[in-house]
């Protein structure tokens, strides 16, 4: 492909909250719209949700990644957004998924993931590595 691939990974806090049922509905809505919009423009990625925080990977043509990312950034429902990775990449991490979804575990609460998110929001570089490897791990387990 001649077009440059861009990947951005960010974590968001407080965007989705409420009861279990509410959270599930909101996540379904986000995933459905992401899958619908992303596949149209060649953007793939993954979403990891855990205890009111989520991490999202967006990868694809720079222009479209920028547009999708900007839509997310202008959403006032996010309380805090931390970008943990952004740059040109050679290959996609999730080539098969318009938006893969990784559930963190039963009841959507996993201590390991919580700790990783806490590290990200505290500005620790280890948090980034942890979130990325958790994403890949959880998706591999689900596959």
């Amino acid at each position: 492909m001649s077009e440059r691939l861009h990947r951005i990974v960010y974590c968001s806090k407080g965007c989705i909250s409420g009861g279990e049922e509410e959270i599930r509905r909101e996540l379904d809505r986000i995933l459905a719209s992401a899958r619908r919009n992303n596949s149209r423009v060649g953007v793939t990625g993954a979403l990891l949700y855990n205890a009111e925080c989520f991490a999202q990977v967006l990868e694809g043509p720079q222009e479209h990644v920028e547009t999708i990312f900007e839509t997310i950034q202008s959403d006032v429902r996010h309380h805090e957004i931390a970008v943990i990775e952004s740059g040109v990449v050679r290959d996609r991490l999730f080539p098969e998924w318009s938006m893969a979804y990784a559930a963190a575990g039963p009841g959507s609460h996993n201590t390991q993931v919580t700790e990783a998110f806490d590290a990200v929001f505290a500005g620790s570089p280890e948090g980034t590595t942890q979130v990325l490897s958790l994403l890949e791990q959880l998706l591999a387990n689900q596959a």
Binding site: H6, I8, Q73, I81, S86, V88
Partner: protein
């Protein structure tokens, strides 16, 4: 075929005849390519725009340079035209109006565009653009009209002024196209942060405004402002680069803070100024005390102008001695002999001078006066003069220094300029170029207050300094300070730089700093700052 035939015939019309025909049109025409390079400007276009003498460097493209020189193009036109050469603009077919002219453009072929300029001053009595061309938000004109009409309806409206922090840095590092993209996105984020019924506007540059029509409490407004600050603080992804700005906000409410649009906006602007002055990234409500503070600021500026005109500034000179105790140099220090407040030290007024943008003028006065004074001393005594960061920011600085040396007759080798680390922070390449030029005039350069700022050792190697002035905070007896001073003098030795210790206030300190390897010493123990007359007397005394 008939069509082909017609086109073929047309291309045979001599170009000059075609141009003459174009000049008969009531509309002015500008033909330019995708990069903003001018292909043709009709005489009528030049006439309508009142094109003046374009100065090079006034725009990124030829089209921009042309519009900036035009008397009748609105202030935002050059900016607008920059946008016209972007990718998105290609699909649009918009226009802009200002100064009684209307400007529309169309793509003709191969990315080439033709712009039509019409005189509309007769139409619709100075019709003003309702919309900001770049962001699609309301224009200033519409914003003000909306405030007036809301007020006429008796609504208690509020206004916010929003100004981006660090926007200039984005423009400077990523370029104007990225800057425009950022402004567009800021506009989108702003729109997403407000309630329906409120109005977002862009006044130009990175200035945005909000009109809150509904009755909003102070808490509502605080919440809204904080949300906007939060959203603007988030990363922007522009042309693949993660970019960050911030927002500062000023808030004013009707009727308490103003009774018409002009007053309300002025109140919001003053509140914004407070947010900026406090470091940005915050919101401030207008208060009556801000008016007083502005008055003080204005008085400050008037005072500085008056001080220069009435010669209320004066220089004092503090001796610098070498290790053997010989007088080698004086540092010129500015004082303000205020008619009511007495002698004011520099730290109490230089920030005001800087704020009102008069550091260049004051700095030149200091340099000229100090050089002239030094001419009265023997050849082996130098003069050290402080240079403010904003002075180095002026590209004319080296030339001004050269002129002052020439005018006073002082040889460059008797002048030392003291430069703080802060001055090196801006554009290192530009600053280095300037310092190199100053050295070719024979001037020596000292890095001032070393050990206080972000003192990076690499700066010593990167910039062409001759001397390190070690800050007085390191003149104490604390063993850690001693270790630092020794390290700095050692570093100076290795890099071939001399060292001067400031703040020598006792005999003990003198012995100690001398022992630590400092080549030169300065401080109260060796001589306080003194008037020009006292300095002249001291010079006479040591000569004997």
């Amino acid at each position: 075929m008939a069509t082909a035939n017609r086109i073929e015939n047309q291309t045979e019309i001599p170009a000059l005849a075609l141009l003459a025909a174009l000049n008969q049109l009531d509309q002015g025409l500008i033909l330019y390519d995708a990069g903003g390079k001018l292909l043709h400007i009709s005489e009528r276009a030049q006439e309508l725009l009142e094109v003046g003498d374009a100065r090079p460097g006034e725009g990124a493209t030829e089209l921009e340079v042309l519009l900036r020189s035009a008397k009748r193009a609105g202030a935002n036109w050059a900016e607008a035209l920059r946008y016209l050469t972007t990718k998105e603009a290609r699909q649009e077919n918009a226009g802009l109006e200002g100064g009684g002219l209307r400007f529309r453009w169309k793509e003709v072929s191969d990315g080439n565009r033709v712009a039509f300029i019409e005189n509309v001053s007769g139409e619709a009595a100075e019709s003003k653009s309702e919309e900001d061309f770049l962001t699609g938000l309301a224009s200033r004109a519409r914003f003000e009209a909306e405030i007036e009409s809301a007020m006429a309806g008796g609504a208690a409206v509020s206004a916010m002024f929003i100004d981006l922090d660090h926007f200039k840095a984005v423009n400077d590092t990523l370029g104007h196209a990225a800057g425009d993209m950022l402004l567009k996105r800021v506009g989108q984020r702003l729109k997403a942060s407000i309630r329906t019924g409120d109005l977002a506007a862009r006044f130009g540059g990175d200035e945005f405004a909000l009109l809150i029509r509904a009755n909003a409490t102070a808490d509502d407004l605080t919440g809204m402002a904080n949300r906007i600050i939060e959203v603007m603080r988030r990363s922007f992804l522009i042309e693949g680069e993660l970019t960050h700005v911030g927002a500062s906000i000023g808030i004013a409410r009707m009727p308490a803070d103003g009774s018409d649009a002009r007053e309300l906006l002025r109140a919001a602007d003053l509140a914004l100024y407070e947010s900026k002055a406090a470091g940005g990234g915050r919101a401030t409500f207008f208060e009556k005390t801000l008016l007083e503070r502005e008055q003080v600021r204005r008085n400050g500026e008037m005072d500085v102008r008056r001080a220069l005109a009435l010669r209320q500034f004066e220089l004092h000179y503090q001796p610098q001695l070498d290790a053997s105790g010989k007088l080698v140099c004086f540092e010129a220090l500015i004082r303000w002999r205020h008619p009511e407040r007495g002698l004011i030290p520099p730290l109490a007024f230089l920030p005001i001078v800087e704020k009102v943008g008069m550091m260049g003028q004051v700095g030149e006065w200091v340099l000229r006066t100090a050089c002239a004074e030094a001419m009265k001393w023997p050849d082996d005594i130098c003069i050290a003069v402080n240079v403010a960061p904003s002075q180095l920011g002026n590209k004319q600085f080296v030339e001004r220094v050269r002129q002052i040396l020439e005018a006073t007759g002082l040889p460059g080798c008797r002048l030392e300029l003291e430069i703080t680390e802060e001055s090196l922070a801006g554009d290192p390449a530009a600053v280095k170029g300037m310092l190199d030029e100053l050295r070719t005039l024979g001037i020596s350069l000292a890095i001032d207050d070393f050990g206080t700022g972000y003192a990076s050792m690499s700066q010593l190697a990167m910039f062409p300094f001759d001397k390190i002035k070690i800050d007085k905070s390191l003149a104490g007896a604390d063993p850690r300070e001693r270790a630092l001073v020794k390290a700095i003098t050692q570093l100076g030795d290795d890099l071939g730089l001399s060292t001067l210790a400031e703040g020598v206030e006792s005999r003990e300190q003198m012995v100690q700093l001398h022992g630590d390897g400092c080549d030169f010493l300065q401080g109260y123990h060796l001589g306080r700052p003194m008037t020009a007359e006292s300095a002249a007397l001291l010079v006479e005394r040591v000569k004997k």
